[in-house]
Structures are given as structure tokens and as C-alpha cells.
């Protein structure tokens, strides 16, 4: 009798424990954010019926694309336990540099080559600033936070200054149609911006998951000392991360600029919080060593979803900031919990 009682009590205890474990596994799973997106959408339908329409989702998708591209780069940098605050300045500077080259009102180039040349120049701006960030961090041993904070101010300011030479207003207009089509044309029914973003996401995923560089990035993020002793070229790896982040920010700038049909030096000003927030919401750790492209996709979706619904509800910009801020804080907390209690990667 006693034995059977003890056995049943133990079974109960174990059932309770496994329930708890299942709950924990869900909270800590990598699809949590996607599940939250679905849940949030369902909850919001009574308040914002528009959320169930195709047009709104097309908007969400098109809002997601450039942000996702920047976030891909930020994911790489966070994986090596760095941070890149200069992405907003890269977006702005690339935008005005590109526009100044291809604008039809007195641009540096005209004709069919103007747009491709301008885009190449934009990517070069991104790569150059990324290189500068990376070199300052690896050669001068400065912290990434400080370096990119400095470069974001420097190049953000430079973008505005540069614009004054090319325009009497704050922006550069008259961009060629070929370029603008990136923002509003489709390929086989899929917007070009989506094609670019998906391609970028697949490439970054490929690099992180299947290449030697990918393994080096995670290793450097987990412990640069061990990585160095094991023969990993730590400096080159860090440098690559910042160059990739710069180039992806520049790619995002192409999409943003095309959508806006204008080169403007304040293009990236407001999105820094969204960039870092979305990546962290997705589950990439601020402590380095873990992060995935798919997580970042979910994080961006979640943030854009909140943004869109709040705007549809007519919330003011301040309210949107407060709510987004809270969500990002919750995500950072979850990151800490994940790291501490489950040791999940």
C-alpha cells in the first residue's frame, strides 16, 4: 500500500515536472517569437480588423524588407559579441552618395550605367565604413560600442554636409526610373525588394550555418581567447563581420532610397532602436556566440507587426516608442533567462 502510494506520488511529481519542462521548452524555443506573432495578430483582429486584409500584409512585408537587410548585418556583428551602431549613418551616407551620382538633375553620371554605378558606390560606402570600424576595433583594440558610436556621428554628420553640395534642399531628387523600379516593381509578382531581401537572408544564413567563416564567427563570439589559441584568425573574422554589416546596411539603403525615390541624409535616423531591437527580440544574444537568420526574420516581423497595428489604431509616435521599448526590454530579459537557466544556444 505504502509502496504503491509512493510510486503514484512520484509519478505525479514527475508528470508535473515534465509539464513544467514542456512549458519551459516552449518559452525558450526558437519559434516562440513566430508563435507570438500569430497570437498577437489573432488578438488584434477585433480591434484592428484591417490586420486580416491582404493589403496590410503587403505593407508589413514591404516595411520588413529593408529593416530585415540591416538586421542581417547586425545579427552577424552581435554573434561576435560586437555591436554596430553605425548602420544608420551608413544608410544615410550611402543614400546621398548614390543619389548624387545618379540624379538626373546634375548628377555625376547619366545614361543606363548611372544607376548600377551609383549602387556599386553605395555598397562601397558601406564596406568602407565597415572596414574602418573593423580596423579600429581589431588594430587599436577599441570597444565596438565606442568606435561605431563615433563613426555613426561622424558619417551621419558627413551625410548632411555632403548633401549641401548637391542640393539646395535637404534631399536629392530626380533619381532614374531604373533605380526607382527596385522600390515599386515586381518580378513574377514578387516585389524586387522582397527578392533582394530574401536573397540576402539566404546568403547570410548560408555563411553562418555552412561555412568556415560562419564557424569562426560563432567561435570568436563565444570566446575570442580560445579561438585565437585554436588558430582562428580572430582579427580577420571581426573585420569580416563589420564589413558585411556595413555592406548589408548599404544594401538596405538602396531599397529605402528607391522606395522613397529620394536620397536623404536623415534616412536612417530613426531606425537604430528597431534594428538592434528586432535582432534581440528574435533571440540573438547580446552576449555573443549565438544567433540565427531565421530568428532575426521573426524578430523583424514581430516589431513591424506591432508598429503597423499601433499605427492603424492611431497611436501617437510616443506611445509606439514606449511599447516598442517595453517589448525590446522583455526580449533582452528573455535572452538573459535563456542564457542563465537553460544554457540554450
Amino acid at each position: 500500500m505504502l509502496v504503491s502510494e509512493a510510486v503514484s506520488r512520484r509519478a505525479e511529481r514527475e508528470a508535473g515536472r515534465s509539464r513544467w519542462k514542456a512549458a519551459a521548452r516552449f518559452i525558450l524555443s526558437e519559434y516562440l517569437v513566430l508563435a507570438l506573432c500569430v497570437l498577437y495578430t489573432l488578438v488584434m483582429i477585433p480591434f484592428v480588423p484591417e490586420i486580416a486584409t491582404v493589403e496590410v500584409w503587403q505593407n508589413i512585408l514591404s516595411d520588413m524588407m529593408p529593416l530585415l537587410i540591416v538586421c542581417l548585418g547586425q545579427t552577424i556583428v552581435l554573434i561576435i559579441a560586437g555591436i554596430d551602431l553605425s548602420v544608420t549613418a551608413i544608410i544615410s551616407l550611402a543614400s546621398v552618395v548614390g543619389a548624387s551620382i545618379m540624379t538626373q538633375s546634375d548628377g555625376y553620371l547619366s545614361g543606363p550605367l548611372a544607376a548600377p554605378a551609383a549602387m556599386a558606390a553605395m555598397l562601397l560606402v558601406g564596406a568602407g565604413i565597415g572596414l574602418l570600424n573593423g580596423l579600429s576595433i581589431t588594430r587599436l583594440n577599441m570597444p565596438a560600442f565606442m568606435v561605431t558610436l563615433a563613426t555613426t556621428n561622424f558619417f551621419g554628420g558627413s551625410a548632411i554636409w555632403y548633401t549641401t553640395f548637391h542640393s539646395t534642399t535637404t534631399s536629392i531628387y530626380d533619381l532614374p526610373d531604373m533605380f526607382i523600379s527596385i522600390g515599386d516593381r515586381d518580378i513574377a509578382g514578387i516585389p524586387i525588394a522582397v527578392v533582394i531581401a530574401v536573397a540576402a537572408a539566404l546568403i547570410v544564413h548560408g555563411v553562418l550555418a555552412y561555412t568556415i567563416l560562419g564557424r569562426w564567427l560563432y567561435a570568436v563570439g563565444k570566446n575570442p581567447r580560445t579561438a585565437y589559441v585554436s588558430g582562428v584568425p580572430v582579427r580577420t573574422t571581426i573585420l569580416s563581420a563589420f564589413i558585411l554589416s556595413g555592406m548589408l546596411a548599404a544594401l538596405a539603403s538602396i531599397v529605402y532610397t528607391a522606395r522613397l525615390q529620394t536620397g536623404t541624409p536623415i534616412l536612417g535616423e530613426r531606425i537604430l532602436l528597431d534594428v538592434i531591437g528586432a535582432v534581440v527580440i528574435g533571440g540573438t544574444s547580446l552576449f555573443g556566440g549565438k544567433g540565427k537568420v531565421i530568428w532575426t526574420v521573426f524578430g523583424v516581423l514581430f516589431l513591424v507587426l506591432i508598429d503597423t497595428t499601433l499605427k492603424l489604431l492611431g497611436a501617437s509616435l510616443f506611445v509606439i516608442y514606449v511599447i516598442k521599448g517595453s517589448v525590446i526590454l522583455a526580449a533582452a530579459l528573455l535572452d538573459t533567462l535563456r542564457t542563465r537557466y537553460l544554457g540554450v544556444r
Binding site: E14, G214, R215, W216, R225, T226, V229, G289, G343
Partner: protein
């Protein structure tokens, strides 16, 4: 020992403690007693239940069954805080001090005394009390000194002083001697003896059995979550304890090698000099040879290894691996030439603790698995890592989803060895390869070393355990203050002579040639 303490009841008694984690029973009724004024050695292999027992004693875990009593009272701590209040102080292997705070701030961090109800710290009292506590542990340092500037042994004494302040009745020392110099160990023992005379009970957990035998009146041996035996020191000796720990007698701790060193030189070092670290160091290691490096703590043993592997810069001198000269030594270049380096700092330099076994093993040689432009052949890597894991007898074969930090110390060390074996090194530099790992794992490491050497590899072995160096090496070099002070062939191994050479004075005589 109990009898002449004249205490009528044990200070601490632990009776039939059981504990399971996730349905796996790790303690099957552990019982022991600790009398006032005695030191009880607690020994066992990793995973024998030492840590779990001590965590239960320290209130970190609660037992499933059994009872504990402290000075006659029922003792069932629900948290480390409660354990501390009841008078149990646990001094961990990795000390819990703040390096960026001073000694006195560390001593009183949990209960800064306040002056008359106002929330300001009574600095004067703190200073005075800190001096008293430091005097009790024989630490002649100003209480304002930053803990970050203290040597390991001094930090440990600060921890003990902290326990004294909390009026600890039972002091648990976890691996207290592993990272200390011999002199620091002597001092620690003196303080342990003083605490004993004041009636404090000490639980001394250590793999260093000589230290246990030196300071403990009784020894309790744990194996597989149960007590195998407890006996007075006088009735035990180190081999007997080892056979109790592993459950069989160990005939030869150091297995015999079947091969002799070959002719060809695997590592040639000439005139290696770096001011304050190494002075005109020259030696050869032949293929199939183990050369041991013996020296006191601070003699430059590890530093020499780091110079050779390219972790630290060198001023002058040459390093040749299998006839190829290393022009600018960096870890990457050294590895390409055929060097491998097992660091003494497994946690911070040897492993990615948050990465899987596969990721750790593959890190040294990802290029071997390259397919196409920079891609990693994941399947080939997993297979090879699995083979290496089996070869070093890793406790798990789930190499893809087991994180390094979830392995025991011995198994972690096997992963480090495996990651270097992946490169099939010509010369393997091993810096303290058996530090902090249990007897069984040690033997496995020795076996791996022998196998490597029998296949023609060369090993440069650095260890603070002279028995280990003597047991494994074909030749022993001694080092003092960065200079080679002696060389012994296996036939001429003599403990006293080696120690004497390791302490031999070094002079400026060589500088003329440098």
C-alpha cells in the same frame, strides 16, 4: 582522533542522504560525521558525489532523504544563506571574490556595518575588524589592497577570513591547494591547523591525496554516490585510497611505452630569449620522445610553452618544427608547422564552454573539412569528431548536442586533447594536462600520451606534479627563472636531484653568449 577531542557529539552528522536529479539517483545514502577540531578529507573521482553532497550541506540543493544535524540540532538549510547563518562556510575552488573591490570591502560585502541607523558605512570599524581578521589568517596586507592584485593563495586566505567573520563552525574547502604554490600551501595548512585547535571542523575536498593525508585526521572516500569507507589517516596510504576511489587496484599508474625515441628531431629550440621570461633556452625533442619540464611555480614553465607556441612575442632565438623554421610564431603558424598546445587554462583558453563537442574539436582544423568555396562538410566533421571522441574514451557519444560546459573536468580535458589530435600534431605541448581531473581520467590521459608517442609524435610535458613528469618522460629538463638548469635521462631520474636542479640558482653567466 575522536577520543582525544573529548567532544561527546559530532559537530556535524550526515545520515543516509539521498538525492536524484531528473530521476537519476546521484547519492545513495551518504553518511559521515565531522567532529569539532578535526579535518575530514573527502575524496573521490569526479562524479562520485562529492559536489552534490557539499551542495546539500551548503544549502544549494535539498536532499530527497536522510537527515543532517549540526551541533545536535536538526539541520536542513533551504538556501546557501541559511547554511551560512547556521555556521557552514563553503570556500569554492573558484573563489567568490570581487577583484575590483578591496580586501575589506570583500570581507564585509554582505553585511556592511552601519553607524547608528544611518545608511553610511562605519569605515573605521571596518578597517579595524578587517585587520583583526587578516591577522587571524596571517595575511600581512593593508585591508585597502584590491583583491585583483592579490596572488591566488592570498585570495583564498581572504575567503577564509570572511568565513571567520561569519563565525563559521564548519569550513568546507573545495580543491584548496590546486592553484597554490608550495609555500602558499604550507601557510594554508598552518591556518587550517590553527582553526582546528579552535574547534572548527574542516571538510577538505581534494584530488591532491598527499595534501589530504598531510592535513586530515580522517579520510572518507566516495564512489558512485556512496561512501566506500572512512578511516583514520594512520591506517591509510595513497595507493589504498586510490584503489578505494576507483574500485580496483591500480598496478601501474603510468603505463609502459613499447617504443623508444627515434633519431629525427621534432622540435629544436635554440637561444630562445624574452626578457624576464626566458633566457637563452635551447633544447631538442626527438620524434617519439616525451620531454618533461619541471620547475617551481613562477619558474617560467608555462611561459616557455607559450613562447614556443607563438602566444607571446620572442626577442631572439629560433624554433624549428621537424626541420622547418618558424619565422614569426603565431598560433596559426605554429599549428601549420605541426605544433599543438594544450593550455593550462582550460576554461578560458582551451574550450568554448558554450559550444558543442563537435564545434570544439573541429575548431583547430576546419579547413580539413572544406568543400567548395569555404563551406564546411558538416557530416565529415561530425563523423571524425565522433571517432576522436571514442578514441579518447569520452563519456558521451552525443558529440553534436552536448555542450562542453556540461562535461566533467576530465571529459573536458579529453575534448581539448581530441581537438588537437585532429591535427595529428608532430609536437604536442601539454601544459598541466591533468590538473583538476580525477585519477581515472588521468590514467586515460597518460594512455593517450603514450599512444601519440608510440605513433611517432613528440610530447613536451609541463606539470607541477613531479611524479607525473617522472612517470611519463624519457628526459626531464628543469627550469628556474626562465633558464634551463638541468637535464636528466630516464635512467638517472632522482626526485631529490630534480628538485635541487629546479631550485638551482641562475646567474648572469650565460649573458655573454646571448
Amino acid at each position: 582522533m575522536k577520543t582525544n577531542q573529548r567532544a561527546d557529539q559530532p559537530l556535524l552528522s550526515v545520515e543516509g542522504i539521498t538525492k536524484s536529479f531528473f530521476g537519476v539517483r546521484v547519492l545513495h545514502g551518504v553518511s559521515f560525521e565531522l567532529w569539532p577540531g578535526e579535518a575530514l578529507g573527502l575524496v573521490g573521482e569526479n562524479g562520485s558525489g562529492k559536489s552534490t553532497s557539499m551542495n546539500i550541506l551548503g544549502g544549494v540543493h535539498q536532499p530527497d532523504g536522510g537527515r543532517m544535524s549540526l551541533a545536535g540540532q536538526l539541520y536542513a538549510p533551504q538556501s546557501p544563506r541559511e547554511a551560512g547563518r547556521a555556521g557552514i562556510a563553503f570556500i569554492h575552488q573558484e573563489l567568490n571574490l570581487f577583484p575590483n573591490l578591496s580586501i575589506e570591502e570583500n570581507l564585509f560585502i554582505t553585511d556592511f556595518p552601519k553607524r547608528g541607523g544611518v545608511p553610511f558605512i562605519d569605515r573605521g570599524w571596518v578597517r579595524k575588524r578587517a585587520r583583526e581578521l587578516l591577522a587571524e589568517v596571517d595575511l600581512d596586507l593593508p585591508p585597502t589592497r584590491l583583491v585583483g592584485n592579490l596572488a591566488q593563495g592570498e585570495r583564498q586566505l581572504v575567503e577564509i577570513a570572511k568565513a571567520l567573520h561569519a563565525d563559521a563552525k564548519v569550513l568546507i574547502l573545495d580543491e584548496p591547494t590546486t592553484s597554490l604554490t608550495r609555500r602558499e600551501v604550507e601557510r594554508l595548512f598552518a591556518i587550517v591547523n590553527r582553526l582546528k585547535s579552535r574547534g572548527v571542523g574542516i571538510i577538505f575536498i581534494s584530488h591532491a591525496l598527499e595534501d589530504v593525508m598531510h592535513v586530515c585526521e580522517r579520510v572518507t572516500v566516495l564512489r558512485d554516490g556512496a561512501v566506500v569507507g572512512t578511516d583514520l589517516r594512520e591506517r591509510l596510504n595513497v595507493p589504498a585510497i586510490i584503489s578505494m576511489m576507483v574500485g580496483r587496484s591500480i598496478d601501474a599508474i603510468f603505463p609502459e611505452r613499447s617504443t623508444k625515441p627515434r633519431e629525427e628531431v621534432a622540435l629544436r629550440v635554440r637561444g630562445l630569449t624574452q626578457r624576464g621570461v626566458a633566457n637563452d633556452v635551447s633544447f631538442d625533442i626527438r620524434a617519439g620522445e616525451v620531454v618533461g619540464l619541471s620547475g617551481l611555480m613562477g619558474s617560467g614553465r608555462s611561459e616557455l610553452a607559450r613562447l614556443i607556441f607563438g602566444l607571446d612575442p620572442i626577442e631572439s632565438g629560433t624554433i624549428e618544427v621537424a626541420g622547418t623554421r618558424l619565422m614569426r610564431p603565431t598560433p596559426k603558424a605554429s599549428m601549420a608547422a605541426g605544433l599543438a598546445f594544450l593550455t593550462e587554462d582550460r576554461r578560458n583558453e582551451g574550450l568554448l564552454m558554450d559550444a558543442s563537442i563537435v564545434d570544439n574539436i573541429g575548431l583547430t582544423f576546419l579547413k580539413r573539412f572544406r568543400v567548395g568555396p569555404g563551406f564546411v562538410g558538416g557530416k565529415a566533421l561530425n563523423t571524425t569528431a565522433g571517432e576522436l571522441a571514442r578514441m579518447v574514451h569520452l563519456s558521451t557519444d552525443r558529440v553534436q548536442d552536448t555542450l562542453a560546459k556540461h562535461l566533467s573536468g576530465g571529459n573536458q580535458q579529453k575534448v581539448v586533447i581530441a581537438k588537437w589530435l585532429l591535427r595529428r600534431p608532430k609536437v604536442f605541448i601539454l601544459d598541466e594536462p591533468t590538473r583538476g581531473i580525477d585519477v581515472g581520467a588521468k590514467q586515460e590521459v597518460y594512455r593517450i600520451i603514450n599512444r601519440l608517442v608510440e605513433e611517432g609524435g613528440a610530447v613536451f610535458l609541463i606539470s607541477s606534479e613531479i611524479e607525473e613528469v617522472m612517470g611519463l618522460s624519457d628526459r626531464i629538463l628543469t627550469i628556474n627563472k626562465g633558464e634551463i638548469t638541468g637535464s636528466f635521462e630516464r635512467s638517472g631520474f632522482d626526485r631529490e636531484a630534480i628538485l635541487a636542479a629546479a631550485m638551482a640558482p641562475v646567474g648572469p653567466k650565460r649573458e655573454a653568449t646571448a
